[in-house]
């Protein structure tokens, strides 16, 4: 199993749309895929028409309830979801109580290795003990980045954190919510991202179709397959398969 974490310190960068659309493409190619909605805002859970309440989410994190009981099938074959739970808002505290707090997430995920080929973590923004757990658990970190100065600054903050804490996870960044009419976007996209970051060629445009995902409550490929954004996510998936997810089955 490969674990891909979609993460950004900053919120509102199209993180959940990325996780949901990539997961859908993965399942379409035949990978048994699980999305874990770690964000208490439960956007991924909402997109898949699943109720965000998880009975015993805390128990699961403490290892007292099998994770498999909580997983829900989505409308798409081969694509399952571990729903968000409001109790995740206290996840930092819970992880802090455990021994080896930075490795707890990995322990929880271990039993899933046989059932899935790909795990996509939709991570909450901000940097915390949860994010540190994610960095340790993930095979790759995918950072959706808006081409603005502020966004690049948070990417640098992330890289500083990773270097300081000696985490060895590879980091992939791609530009999202891109408006090519804006000079600033064009210029920012030329900037260097630092040597530890692999820059992906695909850019996802700013598009109303992405916002419509909230109405349609489905991945773009289902209700707007010919939109530019849908095609960009398809291209992003193909690019990831040959880079970050190389060697994943399928």
């Amino acid at each position: 199993v490969k674990i891909l974490a979609v993460y950004n310190i900053k919120g509102g960068v199209g993180k959940t749309a990325t996780a949901v659309n990539l997961a859908w493409h993965a399942a379409q190619t035949g990978l048994r895929t699980l999305v874990w909605d770690l964000d208490p805002q439960a956007a991924a859970t909402f997109y898949f028409r699943i109720k965000p309440k998880v009975k015993g989410g805390r128990k699961m994190l403490r290892g007292k309830r099998p994770i498999d009981d909580i997983i829900k099938g989505t409308d798409f074959e081969g694509l399952d979801l571990l729903p968000a739970d409001f109790s995740y808002r206290n996840m930092d505290l819970m992880l802090g109580e455990a021994k080896k707090p930075t490795l707890q997430l990995l322990r929880v995920l271990r039993p899933l290795a046989e059932d899935y080929d790909l795990l996509i973590l939709d991570c909450p923004p901000s940097i915390s003990l949860v994010s540190e757990n994610i960095f340790h658990a993930a095979d790759a970190l995918l950072v959706p980045t808006i081409p603005t100065t502020l966004s690049l600054r948070t990417l640098r903050q992330l890289m500083d954190f990773i270097v300081r804490h000696q985490v060895h996870v590879p980091v992939y960044a791609f530009f999202t919510m891109v408006d090519m009419r804006k000079r600033m976007h064009q210029q920012t996209m030329q900037r260097d991202l630092g040597e530890r970051v692999t820059r992906l060629a695909t850019a996802v445009p700013y598009a109303s179709s992405v916002e419509k995902m909230g109405l349609a409550r489905a991945p773009l490929g289902v209700f707007a397959p010919h939109s530019r954004a849908a095609q960009a996510y398809a291209a992003l998936w193909e690019e990831l398969r040959s880079t970050a997810l190389k060697g994943a089955a399928g």
Partner: protein, 535 residues
């Protein structure tokens, strides 16, 4: 392309339950009957062809599994199912239908498959084409909470001609995390729509439509005889059974589908000859002489191919038995063996197509179809089979004991060879007439005898193999020149075989002692000599 299969591909095997809706049920009918109670959405139909693969002797089915090759518009996948619980245990994508376990990509499926089928080829046993419709069952958020898969299927010939339609099948596929909905839906289908559960699996249904059933071939000799039957009738019964086995293996031997066809054909031939010569004074003497000779011919012409088959089957083990640095040196032997096997197979093919062979089968059929106990029958033709069998078994049992007891550490190899022949005769007799005696007493005897035979077989065959390998080595040297490494590797192998042969010789005494057991002697005397403990 390798890798996992699309999830929907195996979904029907992960079902909650399968039902038999009335013949001709259309998806729209079903949707109408669900409406009111359930919100549903119909998806566009898809076609799949399932090809059930197994060995000729049904090894996969007998192991409690099914191997299904499922072909959809875009994907060909293999699914290994638990037959009783219709549960997929492993699956993978393939490019073409596999013939050997090695054709399957390395992984869980191949690991399960290889030890079950061993050296046998995978053959298509039945083909079923289905048109399927998925009906998604939705909750108030339009979220899918279960799926219903309606399938209309037909059974196809190998040339994809339609044989007949199977009963339609409605499968309830639960969505993970929505078990309550699946349970309620199952209840609705059973109670409100009164749909009966689907009976057997598709394979059995498809076979039945072709007048077949699973496990309709076995290499085991399983003849039920009545102890009071006239010896002539009983013997013909055994011989007819053997002829059936022999004929079942002709096509596979001719086309060399796998090495077991020829093996089974040869075993049936040997058993036939043994039945002819061992059960004396029952069949007309000129018939016995004539067919013994003609089946002897069949044994001879099939020998060379079988010998080479055995070397090819053993090759991986031979290679493995060599020290690591010599293993690669043995490799030139493999193409040599293959080439010679191919030549032998071509000759065999001609023999199996020859008028002589057809004549043999035709004459043998004719003889077996004649009414028993004709004017030229043997003097014991009308004696009850239990008497004839008992006398013969008792005689052969004592001969084995006599010959075995005479063998010492210094006995020549010929003595062991003679004993082996007697043991084989006894074994065949036991197999022909097993049904006349209590299973609990015959089985341990056969088992003991098998152990002894394995030991004697090792002693003799290892020696013959060593001699054959020597010839191969000389051939390789002469035919291709400059083959010192392979010759040395063969030499090492010969040394190893001869060492094992010596070990087998050393183990003989204790194995024979186990067979020459006082309580077993009493049992045999009671069964064979006195005709006690009949079934």
């Amino acid at each position: 392309m390798s890798g996992p299969l699309p999830a929907l591909f195996t979904a029907d095997c992960r079902s909650y339950a399968s039902y038999s809706p009335p013949a001709g049920t259309q998806p729209a009918d079903l949707q109408r009957r669900l409406n009111g109670a359930w919100r549903t959405r119909l998806e566009s139909p898809g076609d799949v062809v399932r090809c059930y693969l197994d060995t000729f002797d049904w090894r996969i089915y007998r192991s409690g599994s099914l191997l299904v090759a499922k072909q959809s518009a875009r994907v060909l996948g293999l699914i290994w199912e638990d037959r009783r619980h219709a549960k997929p245990l492993a699956s993978c994508r393939v490019e073409t239908l596999p013939r050997w376990p090695e054709d399957v990509p390395a992984g869980v499926l191949r690991d399960r498959l290889s030890p079950v089928v061993e050296m046998r080829a995978l053959l298509p046993m039945a083909r079923v084409r289905s048109r399927s419709w998925v009906l998604r069952v939705l909750n108030e958020d339009d979220k899918t909470v279960a799926r219903l898969l309606l399938e209309q299927s037909e059974c196809l010939t190998e040339g994809k001609q339609i044989i007949a339609a199977l009963t339609p099948r409605l499968t309830l596929i639960p969505v993970k995390g929505y078990n309550k909905s699946a349970k309620r839906l199952a209840h609705f289908l059973e109670q409100d729509l009164a749909l009966p559960l689907a009976a057997d699996n598709r394979l059995e249904e498809a076979l039945a439509l072709q007048g077949r059933q699973p496990c309709d071939y076995s290499s085991k000799l399983d003849v039920q005889l009545n102890p009071e039957m006239a010896a002539d009738t009983a013997l013909r019964h055994v011989l007819r059974h053997l002829l059936g086995t022999l004929e079942a293996n002709i096509a596979g031997s001719r086309d060399d589908l796998d090495s077991e066809f020829l093996h089974d054909l040869r075993v049936a031939t040997r058993r036939t000859r043994s039945a002819l010569s061992q059960v004396k004074d029952v069949l007309p003497p000129q018939v016995v002489t004539d067919f013994k000779q003609r089946f002897g011919w069949l044994g001879q012409v099939t020998g060379p191919t079988r010998d080479l088959d055995v070397f090819l089957l053993d090759f991986p083990r031979y290679r493995q038995s060599l020290p690591a640095e010599l293993q690669a040196d043995l490799d030139p032997l493999l193409p040599y063996l293959r080439e010679h096997q191919r030549e032998a197979q071509q000759t065999l093919r001609r023999q199996l197509a020859s008028p002589y062979f057809h004549r043999l089968l035709k004459d043998w059929h004719e003889f077996l179809a004649q009414p028993p106990a004709g004017p030229d029958a043997g003097p014991k033709a009308r004696v009850p089979i239990r008497e004839v069998a008992g006398a013969r078994l008792w005689r052969m049992y004592r001969r084995v004991l006599r010959e075995g007891r005479a063998i010492t550490d210094d006995s020549p190899a010929e003595d062991l060879h003679e004993l082996r022949k007697s043991c084989k005769k006894l074994r065949y007799l036991l197999e022909f007439f097993a049904s006349l005696y209590p299973k609990a007493k015959i089985k341990p005897l056969i088992k003991q005898l098998k152990r002894l035979l394995d030991n004697l077989g090792d002693f003799q065959d290892l020696h013959i193999q060593a001699e054959r390998l020597r010839v191969f080595g000389e051939d390789l040297q002469r035919e291709r020149g400059d083959r010192l490494p392979v010759v040395l590797a063969i030499g090492t192998l010969i040394g190893d075989l001869l060492r094992r042969q010596m070990q087998a010789r050393a183990a003989f005494a204790s194995l024979f002692a186990a067979f020459d057991d006082a309580s077993q002697y009493k049992i045999c005397r009671a069964m064979f000599k006195r005709g006690e403990a009949p079934r």
